[in-house]
Symmetry: D2
């Protein structure tokens, strides 16, 4: 027989004594209490709690994805955990509204006491970025300094450690490169897709050339746009061009993974591709939400300190603005829409492949 567990008290379970005595306003320490410093501390502590949770979720997804073969039972779990991260991110974004209730004048009451502390020193957020797969080369320089140069030795160690582990970007890349279905028994996804694209492009070309309502000027313009589109498809269809983009850091997935991601997006209605499709979509969501958060954060910083330098010694506003654009981890997934073709043009899958992608809930 199982024994009863010892009774638990809410306050002890949540360690409230520690938690609620961990707010130590500097303004009080210096004898000039500033009411809003409490808010400043608590909002940042709430952020750090949520970062810990995100690390917990990412860690569990990474553990599943780092295996040589992923148990399908776990993909649903991973989707649910990424979804949870996006729900947390929405709160992260909304928490900025709370911080914005502090006016610039109120911030000045204690700002000088905090120098040079800065959100840039949040080692947990850097770990989140590392776990996702943000590489050192892709990071925006902060004041010409390496991203871990401003944190304590202990935190630096944690950052380097996290950096050296397999990131979600790499793990997903590996998984995508192993996805079957795309070739075999006379079926070659790439060939089928290429034919469809060629058909579609030559149809478009004909429309442009024969459209009587176009002026010469407009026709030339449309033709040059058409050339651009064609080039993009070429890069997708040509492994060497793709590898060149990878070497420049513009693409991050291997050639094979890119095609697999495209395949999943095109045939996502096939029953067993639904989960992988949702998984890839949540990766985009996570990326996009951090981008939104960074951007809104940048706006908030500007609003709080104008164009002064931040407590950390650099223009927080400018730095955050740049990271919004450049710290995206899954640009390859954002490029997929460029290569989608309308369902009406989509080559049908051979029945053998379709049956491998199907399952049935109903009695047959």
């Amino acid at each position: 027989m199982q024994k009863p567990y010892p009774p638990v008290y809410y306050g002890d379970y949540l360690q409230l004594e520690r938690l609620l005595t961990s707010q130590l306003p500097k303004s009080e320490e210096y004898g000039k209490p500033a009411h809003d410093e409490m808010l400043f501390i608590i909002v940042h502590q709430a952020y750090e709690l949520w970062f810990k949770q995100i690390i917990h979720e990412l860690g569990s997804v990474l553990e599943i994805f780092s295996k040589e073969k992923i148990d399908e039972k776990n993909l649903g779990t991973c989707v649910a955990r990424l979804r949870r991260i996006t729900t947390i991110q929405k709160v992260l974004i909304d928490q900025l509204n709370i911080l914005e209730t502090m006016t610039p004048l109120d911030f000045l009451d204690f700002r000088d006491y905090l120098i040079p502390a800065s959100g840039f020193q949040s080692f947990q957020f850097r770990i989140v970025e590392n776990m996702l797969g943000l590489s050192i080369e892709n990071r925006v320089k902060f004041d010409d300094k390496n991203y871990y140069s401003l944190v304590s030795d202990e935190h630096q160690k944690l950052l380097i450690e996290s950096h050296n582990k397999t990131s979600l970007l790499r793990a997903v890349d590996n998984w995508l490169s192993r996805i079957p279905f795309m070739d075999g028994n006379g079926y070659h996804f790439l060939n089928e897709y290429m034919s469809a694209v060629t058909r579609m492009l030559s149809n478009e070309m004909e429309i442009i050339l024969n459209n009587p309502s176009l002026t010469d000027d407009k026709r030339n313009r449309q033709l040059s746009e058409f050339e651009n589109t064609k080039k993009k498809f070429d890069a997708l269809l040509d492994k060497d061009l793709h590898d060149e983009l990878v070497s420049k850091g513009i693409r991050k997935f291997s050639y094979k993974s890119s095609l697999a991601a495209l395949f999943i997006n095109l045939y996502r209605d096939e029953p067993i591709l639904h989960l992988p499709f949702r998984f890839l979509t949540y990766l985009i969501d996570v990326d996009e939400n951090f981008t939104s958060w960074r951007y809104k954060h940048a706006l908030m910083v500007q609003r709080m300190i104008g164009s002064k330098v931040g407590t950390g010694g650099s223009s927080g506003h400018h730095y955050l603005m740049q990271t919004a654009e450049k710290h995206k981890v899954f640009p390859d997934l954002l490029e997929i829409p460029t290569f989608l073709i309308p369902r009406s043009e989509l080559p049908e899958l051979p029945s053998e492949v379709r049956s491998r992608l199907a399952f049935s809930y109903e009695l047959t």
Copy 2:
């Protein structure tokens, strides 16, 4: 060759001329323009647009679900459309914040002109309720009147029509009752589950009886709670008891469907059960979001008119408050957690069933 489509102008495509001339404030008509009447009209029009969209989504889900056999390709689509409805519902809820920027005094400037119009006359929202499966018997009476007695003849016809079609509640009930996997080849889900429940309950009983730290008073209390729990399980395990609850309107699913919903919730980690699990979860979300919306709506009405009667001639606040509680369509799904047992107690599926519930993305 496909021909180019004729060029489209944004304003025509969206019918902006009609749309933007459809705001006809009564206060202007009567020569006493009240600034906030425009807001009142537009927020209600925005609601009606979204209701139309929800009807569009529900209609497509119902079309898929009304078939005798649901193509699995479509379940992912249904999940995505329910998810879209929940996203729209969040905006419906937030739109109340916009209406709340109108103060009670500003409302009084035009309120008398609107009598007896009332949101209760939104036939589209009643159609949404009918499509979901809210029956006439389960509806809260409004001023002792039938729910369609206050709308125009034309709208009444639409309501009765929608009422007579298969609702989502009924369609889901049918689908669940057809789900296989639960019996066959010597496996009987119900038997396995009953054994696990019995084991769990007798263990709990022993703990209560033998826990030396309990006072007699506390022990008796725990025993009576235990009896309650046991009774609930009995009702689930006994078809007659279940059918009695159905006849009283407390349960709405058939006995077989209830068990299928439980099965899906317990074994949702099996790959092919993931989508049905998400589908059932979104049904709860849709129900819960409308409940939240009705409740917040009730608070808003109270705040706007205090305890006066509404323009429709009844206490809007009180009516809405009651519907929040009573207009839930899927109470059966909300009861499932009562019957879940911890994963550690969950009977393992026989390998034959597991393999039918599995699929693989990876080469084997």
Copy 3:
């Protein structure tokens, strides 16, 4: 000369070492790690951090309002702090969405370890309620127990302390009762208002009696509604009736304060009444947001545990549902709309009063 402050490190300032080691999942302690327990802990810790902040804000407002005379410089500050509380409340509500990403089955993995801990033991939230002015008599009984019977001795002491201090309800009541402008130099707000109400009511009466399009049935109905409205006004205009409602706990403001609140709402466009009007409006917002939070919390609990008893030993769902309705602190403010009269009927203020309520930004 001021000395430079010693440099501050982000991690030390926020006490991250303590903060991030304060999550001690029971499931790990018992050797059966449940992934989602971390979420459960962190979401509750985030709640407690925000409760601390709300206490900080309420405390500062109370300090200002407890004085015998409130410095007008501070009313703007109080409005800003109440507004901040409403911004925090929105995050409190959204955080429930994060908790809802935990499924009932996942909760079961660690639920038994937590008995009898329960959110009911959050002494900080009880302090918030006490600071606002929720009295013991108005509290919903939890399992027939006093609201502080389940917390530790130490927390009990804090609760009783907070209970014995002046609440915001009482402080606002005092302040409202001191507001001038309403009488003097031949002006009596109540008289003017009574005449306007009488005029309005007799006009309404005439409409009902003489409306040829009304059936007898409808006319009688409207007359009975009219009687109800009249009675409500009588209660406002008659101090004895008001005091009776106070003694029954239905009204909480003194007679004089009720009239002052009504005056502010009716004449809020006068320049110096704008801030008091916003202040009263934010009190309603704070009340309403906690009501929404409690209600959504109740829905979430039901969804997580069905109709089982909560870890705290009672039906959390049912208890929370009741508190949503009954724990409102400022019902008097919610009743004000009942007594508003349209601006077109509003008696004009004598110029002497208007000039006392005015100020000018512009050169005159």
Copy 4:
């Protein structure tokens, strides 16, 4: 006696027959119904309804602000209406989440039918920008075209009209330039402020020069930052420098208005400055919310079409991204924090000024 108003029917009042028949999907017209086109239409129609409401609110604020002297009774109204706009903007931002439930593949099902329609042709949104005060010179070029070159002749006329009216930017500039209190009776705000700034800066300088813990490298860096700060203050204090920034389009307020805005921000605790302070703050909010909306819109477009050109014939993503940064209307207000000085350094107002800025709710 007032007559009863004729009874109103909800559906007629809201013009539901027109409203709900204004969705004309092209995909249906062409016989290839695409489920998601309805969503696409309705979400854009909801946007246009809200734009109409924002125009209604801005119009009323402009009417008040265009007068030679603003009645103080109306400033509270303006604050409330700007606040309403910010509430609507939050819904505008959240509506993007609804559109994001449409996947790129689903968009492709009807995208070609819409060419060249584009959100860029929303004349109402351009009117909103014009009413706020976005000038032609400050607009990002769209495909090298003038912002009104793509709309119909009729809409073009409306745009030019709106452009030629006084914008909120200009009206606020005028109002600020008239604000009194800042000079007279021997008080000169600018002088007092300059002395305080000088004191503060020389104190900072001394700290840098005498801080023994600084390396030479760090000291030089701090000195160069100090120089930057000093230059910014110089520009504020020197009318010629300010006018130069205005002529370059970097500043938009007159010199006098800039100082008035600074004065209001520094002394916002004085009772009668509270409303002007809130008003200026809401202007920043409105600006920031549109910035956030444009940015999130840009992310959504990228996600929907990748790096293809938009239906309007240009890179919607890139265009929107740029407008986020550059279409801000009140950059001057965002610069104010740069010039704030801590309350501890703030020169006290002479009692004569303070009494003009004060009022009292209490009996004296």
